[in-house]
Every structure is written in structure tokens, then in C-alpha cells.
Symmetry: C2
Subunit: 141 residues, 2 copies
Amino acid sequence: MKSNSLPQQDNGHPMYHLTRNQQAVLDVLHQQPHPLSAQELYGMMRQQQAIGLATVYRALETLKLHGLIRSRTGTNGESLYSPVLTDQHYLTCLQCGQSFPLDHCPVQELKAPLQHPIPFKIYYHTLEFFGLCEPCTHQVE
Amino acid sequence: MKSNSLPQQDNGHPMYHLTRNQQAVLDVLHQQPHPLSAQELYGMMRQQQAIGLATVYRALETLKLHGLIRSRTGTNGESLYSPVLTDQHYLTCLQCGQSFPLDHCPVQELKAPLQHPIPFKIYYHTLEFFGLCEPCTHQVE
DNA sequence: GAGTGAACGATAATCATTCTCATTGTACTC
DNA sequence: GAGTACAATGAGAATGATTATCGTTCACTC
């Protein structure tokens, strides 16, 4: 990244100059209704333009560090990326790995949500419930 | 696992017969003040007894499916395991990867915490805030 | 004590992610 | 416009946690 004047956006986050590829990755994530893995992203972008896998990972890393996208680890271990727009929370089954999105975020309603002594710049949060979905309760003994 | 009578514990979870190794893994996790990775667990147990890495992973999988331990993915991608006793929530820095535990769980105070249409047996939940810790805010441009 | 199936250990295989390095692109200066 | 500096890129190798395989051992039942 080159030197730049770092103008402030109205949301308070500094606005950085994104490279063409970083912007392309962000665009694809915005167009998708569901979180994507890096590999899926790579496969999709490959069809549109020449891009390397390492570049996809580097772009995701940069976007994440600047609070533009969030990542979440799926049950199979791979990271799933999505834009930081709305809260996304899940019920995740430990057996089959399915995640059921929750449309309501209880954390928003907290009166005193974040009392912590550590100076910290919060970009987003995740709330996830783990257990067994109904079909899987019958399979685990 | 052999056939057994599946007596109920007072917490409502069925109590299964654990193998010696599964019990040993659970014991080590109970003795540790911090979550452990499977590799760390393997290294520690290796010093006490002969055990295979695959067995450690298998034991963790079984314990997790029965709601006895929780797992959480660290910033380096490896899973960290700890007993399901208390809530554990974190502030996690996207830059340096450090996690700062929160001693207070706001989710407990919610009036109507879980209104979801899906029948689901919840073992535990995770609440994690992501962003930048103070030192790292200076490094990310 | 024999039979049966789960649990085990060692090791190979898998696969997402990261690293390396030579090349290319992009400002910025003169 | 040429030259320079450095970030960004792509291809492919390397890493490392996790999972699969397979022959052996253990625990329980009859």
C-alpha cells in the first residue's frame, strides 16, 4: 500500500485505497447471499479474471484487518468470509456440521454490553450456539 | 462404545461410559487453566502414557459430541479445547491473534435469549468480539 | 476360554493455508 | 518521459493440523 492521505469515512473507519484485486474480492463477497470460503472465492473469480490463490488469501487478510469483511470457521475447518454488514449468528450442529442462521441478534439489546478494561477497537462480533440438531440427536446414541 | 443403560446425570445429559483414554483426555483438560490444542494435549499426555495422536483426536470428537468439552478455533487455525463448565468469551485481535478473555457473559442476562423455530439441543455458546487491540491499531496503517 | 466388535496406535494421505521468489504494476521524482 | 522504489501479484513449494487406513489389541458377552 502506498502513502495516502487516509480520509475518514462517515463510519469513522479510515478509508484505504484498495487494489483492483482487493476490490474485486470485496465485490464478489457483496454479491453473494452466503459466506464463501477462500477456495470457493478463488474458483469463482478464476472464471472472470486471472488471479492467483495467494492473492485471494492476501486480499481477504487485508480486508479483514480493515474491518470490511468478517471470517468465521466452518465445522470442516475452513474459513468462511462475508462482508461486515449485518450481524450473523448461528445454531451449529456438532454432528452434521450444518449451521442454521439466526435472524435475531440478542447482543444488540444489551444495556451494558461491553464492560472490559482492555482498550480495543471492535469491528464485529460473533455469537454461535453449538449442540445437536433434531435429526442428529437420534444418531448420537 | 458398548451397549449400556444410559443413566441420566442431574444436568440432564445422558452419562456415557468413557474409555480410559477418553477419560484421561477429559481429566487433562479439567486440570488445565487454559484451552489446549489437540497437538498440545498429545504432547502432554505422551509424557504420562503411551497414546496415539489419532486417539486424542477421536477422544476429543467423542467428548465434544456428548457436550462434555467445547472447541474454539484459534487465530492460527487450530482448534482449542476446554471443558464445558463456564462460559468463555473473548476479545480477539485480528492482527496479532491474541485473545483476551471476558469474565462476564452478557448473553446470560438476556430476557428472551433463544427464540428460534428450529428444534435444537444446545450444549454451549460462544460470544467473541473481533477487532484490533490497542498496540495493533498503530501497526495497521 | 472363544467370539465379536469397538478402540487403539502408527503411519500415510488430505487439504486449507502460508511461504518463497521472481516478475509485474504503480505511483512518484527528476 | 525515463528512472527508481516498493508494493502487489502468480505459480508453485512447503507447512501443519486433521482425517483416513489398516492391522492389532482390548473389553465385554456367552
